[in-house]
Symmetry: C2
Subunit: 347 residues, 2 copies
């Protein structure tokens, strides 16, 4: 990201967000007119309504929302801004929809550095452009110092569902194949390494990325995909548990097939964490009938965001609603849903 | 609101929200499956996707977002829950759209009483039912104690824009008439009276209400309405300043026509506030050509949420982009945009 663009609000004069920036008055308008509007410039946003009027649409629409409270706000590989854009883009893509329009709702804490806000906003714009989505409406609130934590961002999104696609976890069947788009645990470990007070540092960066291009490639290869899911909070283990319960099928995984970087594995050992439960922000789990699995896998491997894609398991009739893993030494163990709190405020 | 429905999560066992409720694991699922899903029960929400798939739509869509950080969370006449539903319903209605689908993004602070969350969720459901909108998708995050303030709620909404309606503040013209739907300042004074440490108490309740029914009545009377706007943060004064700037027209108001309850006026005098700048959550400003003003006014007065509607002013060629008020003693003064912070965290 090019942060050399100067902040359009003079930082020497307005170094921090104040309560008046959330009043709806002059400083609120300055923030919107000078900082948000020029960077997110969009004919819908520019109309200055209470909401955006979208061009005429027809068909099934997907609608999704996500709030982001990641701590710290800046971390290796990204910040809360691109995370918030990519997260909602990915949720729409995982509905089988083309992500088109985003809303942005910011809750700023009094005292947030104006320069940090500017960097976050620039990153959001860059992420939106990369993903091909438009930020069309927004809202900003300010809470007093100590009632927030720098910045929380909600993004909601709408997009049209692709013709012929029916993503439905309850529709997947024994024999279907589970494909994972690459290395797991990068985002969680990057966040942990950036948190104050931690004794270790890694070179791992968050995998935060917009996956709509990868999803297009998957659906171009097969419309028989029944599940697209980005394993964020709770990680691959929790996501597969949700799917196995929806499908009333078992899932059996092959531990040796699951890609984990050595640095991530090392950090997990130090911290006592299991990478299967760590959040990812640029990975996708795909479930597809066996017959289509090879062509979907190849399509994924040919996409930059899916080059490390692998088949990691299969749905089974045995042990319905249970996820099991065949370990490297040949034994089998149950992979349960995450219990308690592993990594708070990871996204 | 009937709060006698028992909280489906045993409060004795889980009296407070913990970090684990935001982990994506077991307690997150308990919160969603036991508390949110049964009350917001909806076929879209029930599918358990990353987002909702909406039925086939066609036409222009409105899309809007708003975050709510009101303090205190419970106040005379409502709580953050119905405020969040009504606020987004009103933003959609003010786009000339029929509010149809809402998303709910909650940011909960560790330590929030489970019973308070339950009351808020029940109120949201009741408000959604009253307004005729469906809550179809949601997200919940938990932040550590001291990094939030009990609960923040984002609602985003989509709805189809009514055929033949073109809400566009830049299209209103000198001679057009400004209609206000009732008494101003109730919401702000209700919030202030509920805040700890304030020395006065009033019987004033928040005017929080869904205005989509009133907007339907207005548009049934005339499709020539150019502005529909709910004067929330910054109040009537700031909203009219925004409109006058968009239209490059002046606005002249008649002070004696603007309805303010004596208790609100009294509280404002004690607090040194001007009701023209106080947030409203159940009022609407309408701008309509003079020829249609009488029939729109009558339609408003015949609706329960508009029974106290009055004409408060007119657009002028003189003093473009300036709002002036003719006072009760015959003089004229400029009504500027709100400067600084009048009432923080009012919505």
């Amino acid at each position: 990201m090019d942060f050399t663009l100067n902040c359009p609000i003079p930082i020497s004069e307005y170094p921090y967000i104040t309560m008046a920036h959330g009043s709806g008055g002059r400083l609120s308008h300055q923030l919107i007119d000078k900082l948000f509007r020029p960077i997110f410039s969009d004919e819908q946003l520019d109309a200055g309504h209470d909401g955006a009027i979208l061009p005429t649409v027809s068909g099934r629409m997907a609608f999704t929302t996500d709030s982001f409270v990641v701590k710290p706000v800046f971390f290796p590989g990204g910040n809360i801004g691109d995370l918030a854009v990519n997260g909602t883009v990915n949720d729409l893509a995982c509905c089988g929809a083309k992500p088109e329009y985003l809303s942005v709702g910011m809750i700023l804490e009094e005292g947030l550095a104006m320069e940090d806000l500017w960097k976050i906003v620039l990153t959001m714009k860059q992420a939106a452009d990369l993903a091909g989505v438009r930020i069309v409406t927004g809202d900003t609130k300010v809470v007093d110092h100590g009632s927030g934590d720098q910045i929380f961002i909600n993004t909601s999104g709408v997009g049209c569902v692709r013709e012929g696609v029916n993503i439905d976890p309850s529709a997947c069947k024994p024999g279907d194949v589970v494909i994972l788009s690459g290395f797991i645990g990068d985002h969680g470990v990057a966040i942990m390494s950036a948190r104050e007070g931690l004794e270790f540092q890694t070179s791992i960066e968050s995998d935060s990325a917009a996956l709509n291009g990868l999803v297009d490639a998957i659906l171009d290869a097969s419309l028989n995909v029944s599940v697209l899911r980005d394993p964020t909070r709770g990680g691959v283990a929790t996501t597969l548990n949700e799917i196995s319960k929806s499908a009333h099928a078992g899932i059996v995984l092959d531990e040796t097939s699951i890609p984990v970087r050595p640095e991530v594995m090392g950090a997990c050992e130090v911290l006592g964490l299991d990478p299967m439960y760590i959040a990812n922000e640029g990975k996708i789990l795909v479930i597809v009938p066996d017959d289509d699995s090879e062509k979907v896998l190849r399509a994924m491997q040919n996409h930059p965001h899916g080059k490390d894609s692998v088949i990691i398991g299969q749905l089974t009739e045995e042990h319905p609603s249970v996820v099991r893993m065949t370990t490297s030494i040949g034994s089998s163990r149950i992979i349960d849903m995450l219990t308690g709190e592993q990594l708070p405020r990871i996204c």
